[in-house]
């Protein structure tokens, strides 16, 4: 958007200098690579924080674009004009009705169900990945996806004029398939689960010169999730919350929210403070929650079986890092059943007017479970991350949300139907009370 270029008066050199192995520390040039050649550890972008501190103030950020690019200095791109489709700066909603229902006092929802352009947090990571892909000279971009990432990669590639080929498991929700096909990418529906799709894509990435956002561009891509940390800090009036609850799939989002908070402390934008990190998984795919429960420091992969397909990653790459963060911040990692996930989706919709997908239902259900177990202090400022939109996973709630009352276009038909629905409501109440 035009504001990005207006506020950037001088051409600024990149604030990142290298990729660094998270395990052994070996440094690499910032190219399209994601794995350490020596120990296979993941590579992460290394920044010059004193330079960022010199360039950035609260005011300079507030004067920036109404998108993730207001935090440009913290992101691994060096283009003057990154791909800006209005991604980010989604509402942080004070969830008073949900809070009251649960017995909490300061609850907020970070609502990425309305992120732009494709209604999930993935637009953040893809905006960064495709900007970097363009800088590195790729003309074709690709991804392995459980749906949301495919939507986002296809849409933003269309906007940027990049060729796109996405790989999805063949059994995805129809809304997610349609929400990809509309942008006219090549779509490969793989007969297998997400982990199999991911393995296949790694093999393709070895031989085709494509930019896979979550494989060879992963170090850049994953940095986009940090903006979920920055925005919450800014929207809370430049302070950190006490506790966050987020869904866990690969574990990347969770670790990057943490990194975002730490970076804001590092450059002096917020005061340091202990933030507890709690994670949410579905029972049918809970390798990280299982490891947490059993006090293991390694992840045993599982074969997913849950309605929460967007977070059904049986072999989570950043699982060990997510475990580490939950433990060292005194957080918890919990899992919930598919029935609880559906209830979570409905609860958020009924109390806050937000229709989330299954990942959000998982997160709300875990929030409920943590409150019931006394693991969230009612007075903690708690932020729950809702990362996707319910319109994409309508199958999950089909049959659980009732039916419209069909009536004739006559007043008495309406009155009868209204009376009947009130009676049904009362009966439901009685059932609950008994």
């Amino acid at each position: 958007m035009s504001q990005a270029t207006q506020t950037k008066t001088q051409s600024t050199a990149a604030t990142f200098r290298a990729l660094k192995c998270k395990e052994c520390g070996t440094e690499y040039e910032p190219k399209a690579i994601h794995v350490c050649e020596f120990c296979f550890g993941p590579l992460e972008v290394a920044y010059d924080y004193s330079e960022i501190r010199r360039r950035v103030t609260r005011e300079s950020i507030q004067a920036g674009p109404h998108s993730i690019w207001r935090y440009r200095e913290f992101l691994p791109v060096d283009s003057d004009q990154p791909i800006d489709v209005g991604t980010g700066l989604t509402p942080l909603v004070q969830a008073n009705r949900l809070a009251r229902r649960l017995g909490l006092n300061k609850l907020y929802i970070k609502n990425d169900a309305v992120n732009m352009p494709t209604l999930s947090f993935k637009d953040r990571v893809v905006s960064v990945a495709l900007t970097r892909a363009r800088e590195l000279g790729f003309s074709t971009v690709s991804c392995a996806s459980t749906g949301n990432l495919a939507n986002s990669t296809a849409a933003i590639a269309a906007h940027a004029g990049l060729d796109c080929c996405v790989f999805i498991p063949a059994d995805l929700e129809s809304g997610k398939v349609m929400g990809t096909l509309i942008y006219s990418p090549t779509v490969m529906a793989v007969q297998g689960n997400y982990d199999q799709v991911n393995r296949l894509c790694s093999e393709v990435a070895n031989t085709h010169g494509w930019g896979f956002v979550n494989i060879n561009l992963r170090p850049y891509y994953s940095e986009g999730s940090k903006t979920l940390g920055y925005e919450v800090a800014e929207q809370l009036g430049w302070q950190l919350p006490d506790h966050i609850v987020a869904p866990l799939a690969s574990g990347s989002l969770f670790t990057k929210i943490y990194k975002g908070f730490r970076e804001f402390v590092e450059v002096g934008l917020v005061e340091d403070k202990a933030v507890r990190f709690s994670g949410a998984q579905a029972d049918g795919c809970s390798p990280i929650a299982q490891a947490f429960r059993e006090e293991r420091d390694f992840i045993t992969p599982v074969k997913p079986s849950t309605i929460a397909k967007s977070i059904a990653i049986g072999n989570p790459a950043d699982g060990v890092y997510a475990l580490d963060i939950a433990r060292k911040t005194n957080g918890t990692i919990e899992s919930v059943s598919d029935a609880e996930i559906v209830d979570g989706i409905k609860l958020l919709a009924e109390t806050e007017g937000i229709f989330t997908e299954t990942a959000g239902g998982t997160t709300i259900a875990v929030l409920q479970k943590l409150v019931a177990a006394g693991k969230i202090d009612p007075d903690e400022t708690t932020v729950v991350y809702i990362t996707g939109n319910g319109l994409k996973t309508q199958e999950a709630v089909q049959g659980y949300v009732g039916e419209p009352l069909t009536i004739e276009p006559k007043l008495d038909s309406f009155e009868r139907a209204l009376e009947r629905s009130r009676t049904l409501d009362r009966l439901e109440w009685q059932q609950v009370l008994v």
Binding site: E23, I33, H34, V35, C36, E37, F38, C39, F40, G41, P42, K122, A144, S145, T146, N148, L149, G192, Y194, D195, Q196, N198, R199, C201, S202, E203, A205, N206, T207, N214, I215, N216, R218, Y221, S222, A249, S250, S252, F298, T300, P301, K303, S310, I311, I313, N315, P316, A317, D318, V320
Partner: protein
């Protein structure tokens, strides 16, 4: 026991830029030794000092993760395809 091994990009420097290597081995452990003799140095990249597979390395035999089979002792048959994949993020 000839087995086809798919080599990930970060290791292709050790295989003369080859993306696949033909190898011998009756188990994954056996295969690792055979790989090491044809591509010296590769085992040290895949295993830690105790000889255990590093935690970010995934091995698949005919598309199945060896952690769902017998791990490093998973048996191999003639014509099997073994894929070595770094852990990757998703969504």
């Amino acid at each position: 026991m000839a087995v086809k091994v798919l080599i990930p990009t970060p290791l292709q420097k050790l295989t003369n830029d080859q993306a696949t290597v033909e190898c011998q081995g009756t188990t994954i452990a056996d295969l690792l030794n055979s790989l090491e003799s044809s591509c010296p140095g590769i085992k040290g990249r895949l295993c830690d000092d105790n000889g255990e597979l590093r935690r970010f390395v995934n091995f698949y035999v005919n598309s199945e993760d060896i952690r769902f089979l017998d791990g490093i002792n998973t048996a191999l048959s003639d014509g099997d395809e073994v894929s070595i994949i770094p852990a990757i993020a998703g969504g």
